[in-house]
Symmetry: C5
């Protein structure tokens, strides 16, 4: 037993050394990927299989170190965020959000992830992708509304994450551009009071999955988030959502190191 | 065999000693969590896997003792109730209801629960959460109605529990506040005759899951509960339920010790 | 091998002796449970797992003897019927129908059943419950109709069983009592020609599961049953069924001994 | 290894001898069962489990021989046909169509099949049953239409089989008999051009499963079958199909020996 | 270990030699199968089971070599394309598209594939088939539109593949041929701007599965594909899609050798 532990420790050290070297190569321009239009965002949620917890803790630590290595390897081209869904969502245990300029880069990361010793324990995957675009529904939006939207949210940690996929009905798409813009302005105004405490991000998913939009939220005040959704349910545009949720993913924002710590226990 | 049993017994004794110490630290203000607004209620239902019953009874007892320990550890911040669904619901065997002021505390409990030796046997989780609020639909409610609602229900054990998740349709949310209030008053009046024998509690779930409300019932008179639901099905507000149940969870209210006794057999 | 068989045989003999003693204690007033209002009827259908048939026949016989013992133990308070669905329904292999004055008695039986050595092989449970009531929809029903309904069905074995769960739509419940009574009279008249060869029983399920009614049929003439359902599909009340079946359970009425014989092979 | 093979061979020979003897007893009047009204047709589709292909080929051959034996045993009372769905349907690998005058005979065959060494590998069963009736929708059908329908289809093998379950909507059953007959005449006329190359058979399923009809097709010209369905989709009666397919079963008509040969490989 | 590796290597060499011989026999007229009407296209998607990655890499390479052999064997009659879905779709890992003049040839290939040592790891199959036809909806289409459609797409690799199954509603089929043609012309005009960068192919599935059409897309510009689908969602014909996607399959076009390389890792 002793010798196998020391072998593992030596292996972990080795992997860490490699990681430092890989990290040195340089990460993707994370800020650009997270803010610019024309970027693909992929949400990949997984459950850990029953064998995961049956493994020795040292084996799990070694496999989690490999997970860290796989993520580091792809940092040059991708922005990868991790979330802990376990306990708050019954759909999955962990969620990866991957931003890339080309979906094939995201595919390569997920192939490497699922092919790794850690990834062999990932099951029941839920994957959907969308594209970021310039806000384009609200050409006639009043200037004061635009100004308010640009005020950055409150600083500090935003521990909760919510992801809600949406599919519009056929009526929505048969409306004129003006009709949709008018409804979106009402939608935007209803959301405005919550822009400071609830961070939002929109992905256009049409054709890439059985969705039209992926809406992403971060907040440290879940009550505000709930009030936001209630406000959005009351505007006309909401009546054109054929699917809203299914699944609604709820979890907490975590650093990779926190995820590793939780999964190692 | 004998030595492994005595080892287990010693282990159980040890855990119990630790539990007593943990208990001494003090429990959360359970009453506050169960009665005040602004509290998150999470319903986490699980099935026990096929391996559970194949284990030796002493192993099961040791694992159930650990379950007790995990619950005790979180009693300071959470109010945790347990229910036995097995035999009356096909969705799950046990149900935990957790009240917390912050959902991340609930997540930490469920992480500890699922990561425990007992939790490794919990599968097919169904988890949904809602927030308690002050009753706000019925500003114009007559005083005699309000007074009747405040009469406490009959004392004594309420052995049955029913949990029914609800999603309203888009029409409901597009009604004016007054229209919704009028319908809710009709709803409340229909429910009044059953307020003494059927205890109700409401959680607002919008945005936290694919639901709008979680309705919780306790009663020792199932016939009264059934008459209550039939009465509620006949009011206008019921026509705005896009989802009512799916699942309907039916079980019996049990103390943790009773659950442990049932699962140990 | 030989010694293990003789051990089993001795065990089976022992169990049978115990059973005889248990039986002597006295059975529930089965007739009352099966005919009176205010009784809960639970339908619990199960599949047998893949391991069941892989066991040695003697092991299976021993486990089936235990099944018999569990049923005997609860005969004092419950009326328990068994049905063989295998081959005619893809939802389950066996169906138990349990009548009780209190659902917690039914829960205790199903806990004992599922906790037994036989029960460990029962998977994919489907469970739903309803309450028997006095017929109450048809106050103005003509006397000759009432008289015809009281004529007992043809004697003799009724080998087929069909269970159809029903959920009414919201429109149904928003009709006046008179409107519903008028529709139910039309329904009853349509069913009348089949009352002699198709035995029916109704359970009110609202609130106890995602159903409003459970309809139970026994017949030795499946063609008559089919004609009955076709006749019922043509009356107005049928248009208010939001769910009809899903699942429709079809099987054969069997004695416990016949079930045991089939499962032992 | 060698001795186990020779044991198997001897076993297979033995079973074959038994089969010949069983066959000699006489088969059911297959023609009657396949053409007369008042006969129950059951469609039982199965997947083979993962263990099936992992077995030694000789073991598989022995088990397939037993399959043949089970079918022979029931030939006196039943007409049993087999189809290969694997590769063309994702719902199942093999399909059995069983015709019987009593469904309990079919149940006995499926019990024997599933209880056999071969049957232990059959999983994910899909089972539905219907009753053949005299054509009764078209009393006013012109004589020339009737005459054309009686022309037998082209001789020769019909390699493809398609089974489509259908459920009508509530509106359909609330139409008058005349309205339904008129629509069915339009339906029949639309189907007429394909009656020579696409063989059809109808089963009435109402009440026996969550269906109203099971439609069965055999053809060697899939393009004609597709044109037939397109023609049927264009008549008014099609608008009353609440469910059409789900599943659509597509496969090839095979003799039992061909099925055995495919499964043995 | 060493000897088992060298045995494997020798086996792989042997298979390769056989493959070369098989290849020499001659491939199907791939161009004809991919362009002519009256050809059946089958989409067969599979997941790899959990055991796949647990095997030694050399074993996997040997099994992938067999996959190559099976595909080569059928090249004479079939056109077989492979796609990598893993990472971009949660429905499957690999997708085979098979073109054949007779579906029974496709069935034989899939039987051989699933029966091979590689195929034993393929699970959760999704299979649907359609028939290519001459474009027939747009008899009155203006000549300039027809001309534009004939301009070949941009040369170069098209790395992304998207497959979207479609089922039309009953209203669609009850429209007159002229009404459908008018809607299809609007559809075609909306799609025109994307014909250079998004390659499309249509399969008629009515009756062969629970679908009416299978739409297949290849593109190196996913943004253009997304704009194409958005444009199609805005025309009247889109309102007659009862099902659009479910699943939407998204992946990358790969050569068989690339797939083998990815799966071997």
């Amino acid at each position: 037993m002793r010798s196998s532990i020391s072998t593992l420790v030596r292996f972990v050290v080795l992997v860490c050394v490699v990681l430092v070297m890989v990290s040195a190569v340089g990460a993707a321009d994370r800020d650009k990927l997270l803010t610019e239009p024309g970027v693909y965002g992929t949400f990949a949620a997984f459950r850990l299989d029953a064998d995961w917890t049956k493994q020795d803790q040292l084996v799990r630590i070694a496999q989690l170190t490999i997970l860290k290595g796989v993520i580091e390897q792809h940092r040059e081209k991708l922005a990868i965020d991790v979330y802990l869904l376990r306990g708050l969502s019954d759909h999955a245990d962990v969620l990866f959000r991957i931003h890339a300029t080309e979906l094939r880069e995201t595919q390569q990361f997920l192939l490497d992830l699922q092919g790794s010793l850690f990834g062999k324990h990932l099951t029941d995957s839920t994957v959907f992708s969308g594209l970021t675009k310039k806000a384009n529904y609200v050409p006639g939006m009043p200037d004061n509304l635009k100004a308010e939207l640009k005020i950055p949210g409150e600083p500090g940690p935003n521990p909760y994450v919510i992801v809600i996929p949406i599919r519009k009905d056929a009526d929505w798409w048969s409306l004129s551009q003006e009709q949709r813009a008018a409804m979106m302005q009402e939608h935007t105004e209803a959301a405005l009071p919550y822009s400071k405490t609830v961070k939002r991000k929109l992905y256009h998913a049409t054709g890439l999955d059985d969705l039209d939009f992926i809406t992403y939220f971060e907040t440290s005040r879940l009550e505000d988030f709930q009030s936001l959704i209630l406000a959005l349910e009351k505007v006309k545009e909401f009546r054109h959502n054929r699917r809203f949720g299914h699944p609604t993913l709820l979890g907490t924002v975590r650093s990779l190191d926190e995820i590793i710590e939780v999964l190692a226990q």
